[in-house]
């Protein structure tokens, strides 16, 4: 009741008295949390190292500079592997995500009681595990190399594409579906004529976006042995070859910029 009780001289405030106290209480709680966190951080920090940080950082930079550009020659093959890993992984993941999304969407699921929960669980499970962890597991299972990377990327992409796709299937205009059903169309024809046209732009957009993300993720999968440019990065880090690390960073940065440019171009062309 923010309007004051005196009818002749009406007062107005955005919040009630109680609401104002709550807001001040909220700020106070935030301050307390900040102080407590600061204490925790201090306990676990060795301040001698922190004091040293600017000098160490400068030292690292000086070792990285100038980049050893002749090392570039060793990077083309791993970079190609990385791009393939991202692209094939995205395709594989998307191919598996599409049927899952149709099973998970409330309006297209063939069985709400059994298949829908199963599909939702697979989607959540895939999303809850990072590509790097998938890669760690897969390197242990099928051995190091690019195949482990492809499958890791694919498994993570299932959840991403599956979730976004099933949400956009649930948001379609049902009257269009009703109209196609009224013509006597079968289940597959219904999907082809009433549902696919409605979700296609969103689907293309999310697949290209996932490819873009996967390019970035695949550059680090090599750290755990899943092939690609990350393997080179790990090798250089282990041998403290900082001038090579800076070259690798430059290549990764350039790749990501190009991928971003390509994906925005393609998205605009298709939608």
């Amino acid at each position: 009741m923010p309007i004051g009780p005196d009818a002749a001289d009406k007062t107005w405030s955005k919040h009630t008295r109680r609401g104002e106290w709550m807001i001040w209480g909220g700020w106070f709680a935030l301050a307390v949390v900040f102080v407590l966190s600061w204490q925790v951080m201090n306990e676990r920090t060795i301040w001698a190292f922190v004091e040293d940080a600017p000098r160490q950082g400068a030292d690292l930079l000086s070792r990285s500079w100038p980049p050893r550009w002749d090392y570039l020659g060793n990077l083309w093959q791993p970079l190609w592997d990385t791009l393939n890993m991202a692209t094939l992984g995205t395709l594989l993941g998307t191919a598996m995500a599409v049927p899952l999304a149709f099973m998970a969407a409330r309006n297209t699921s063939p069985s709400l009681l059994f298949l829908r929960p199963v599909a939702l669980f697979i989607i959540v499970a895939s999303r809850s595990i990072n590509s790097l962890i998938w890669a760690l597991l897969l390197v242990a299972i099928i051995g190091p190399g690019i195949l482990a990377g492809i499958i890791a990327i694919a498994l993570r992409s299932i959840g991403f594409v599956g979730k976004l796709l099933y949400e956009s299937i649930e948001e379609i205009d049902e009257t269009q579906v009703e109209a196609v059903r009224a013509t006597g169309a079968g289940q597959l024809q219904l999907i082809d004529y009433a549902i696919v046209p409605q979700v296609l732009p969103a689907f293309v957009g999310m697949t290209i976006f996932r490819w873009d993300i996967n390019i970035r993720e695949s550059t680090i999968l090599g750290l755990v042995g899943a092939g690609g440019i990350g393997l080179q990065l790990q090798g250089s880090l282990n041998t403290l070859a900082w001038s090579q690390v800076s070259v690798i960073f430059a290549v990764i940065l350039l790749t990501v910029i190009v991928a971003e440019w390509v994906s925005s171009k393609v998205r605009r062309a298709i939608i």
Binding site: D173, T175, Q176, E178, A179, V180, R181, A182, T183, G184, A185, G186, L188, Q189, D192, Y193, A194, P197, Q198, L200, P201
Partner: protein, 276 residues
């Protein structure tokens, strides 16, 4: 011929949408279904092609009981019942031709429809119908590029592409301006007469219904309260269907609305002219 025999529909919420509705529609007869919102008009026509499941009674189309069908038989029955919708219900991102050809989905196998390779006879028929509804120049446009009246014409062509034995029409003019409404109603009634096709048209606009249909059925609270020719639709009957209202005042308001609309259009045209 369509026979509806003591049709009942109870929704899961317990609402009785239809309480024993019975009537028959002869070949070539165009029936206007009027009644207040929530009277069960939409439920009734959706029960006929089983987009809504009836909970009692029978519906016979040329002798076949539609309420007993399931699976493939139901789909075969549906393909002989054309339906036209209030908001057109075209697939917005498909072309006009694809929308019209989707009327053949019940007849062609999946692979043909998937690769858009419809039999030449179906394509010929589609061209012919697009010609009939006046859209021969818009064949390859996407449905979302058309105006409201044009979209409803595509809807009509899609329904006729099915070679229907019955046409169900749900508020065909509710989203259209008065002039286009008349054109669309005229077109629907003309094609029905050309083909000797029975039709049930849900319609809010009583005046429009009286202008075009052969027979009017009035529905109130899920029951038939009037069934007769449009000329018998007196103020007393309208009051029985819709409740107390000054019917002449309402008609006057309609005329005023139309006048307002034309004024608004003139004003906007003027404003646009100034901008240019």
């Amino acid at each position: 011929m369509l026979e509806v025999d003591s049709l009942e529909k109870r929704y899961k919420t317990g609402d009785m949408a239809l309480r024993g509705v019975s009537f028959t529609v002869a070949k070539g007869q165009v029936v206007g279904l009027i009644g207040p919102s929530g009277a069960g008009k939409s439920s009734l026509i959706r029960c006929i092609n089983r987009l809504v499941e009836p909970t009692g009674g029978a519906i016979r189309l040329n002798g076949l009981d539609l309420t007993k069908l399931s699976g493939g038989n139901l789909r075969q029955a549906r393909r002989r019942i054309g339906m036209i919708f209030q908001e057109y219900a075209l697939v917005e991102r498909l072309t006009v031709m694809e929308n019209v050809l989707s009327g053949r989905l019940g007849y062609v196998p999946f692979w043909r429809s998937f690769f858009r390779r419809f039999p030449q006879a179906d394509v010929d028929k589609a061209f012919q119908l697009l010609d009939r509804v006046g859209l021969q120049d818009h064949v390859d446009k996407r449905a979302d590029a058309l105006s409201g009246g044009q979209r409803q014409r595509v809807g009509i062509a899609r329904a006729l592409e099915q070679d229907p034995e019955l046409l169900l029409v749900d508020e065909p003019t509710a989203s259209l301006d008065p002039k286009t409404s008349r054109q669309i109603m005229r077109l629907i009634c003309e094609v029905c007469r050309e083909r000797d096709l029975p039709a049930i048209i849900n319609i809010h606009d009583v005046v429009l219904a009286q202008m075009f249909v052969d027979r009017i059925i009035g529905l109130r609270a899920g029951a038939v309260v009037f069934d007769g020719p449009p000329t018998d639709l007196t103020d007393t009957v309208l009051t029985e269907i819709y409740g107390e209202e000054d019917w002449h005042a309402m008609r006057k308001t309609r005329e005023e609305d139309a006048a307002d609309e034309s004024e608004t259009k003139a004003f906007e045209a003027e404003r646009l002219a100034e901008l240019v």
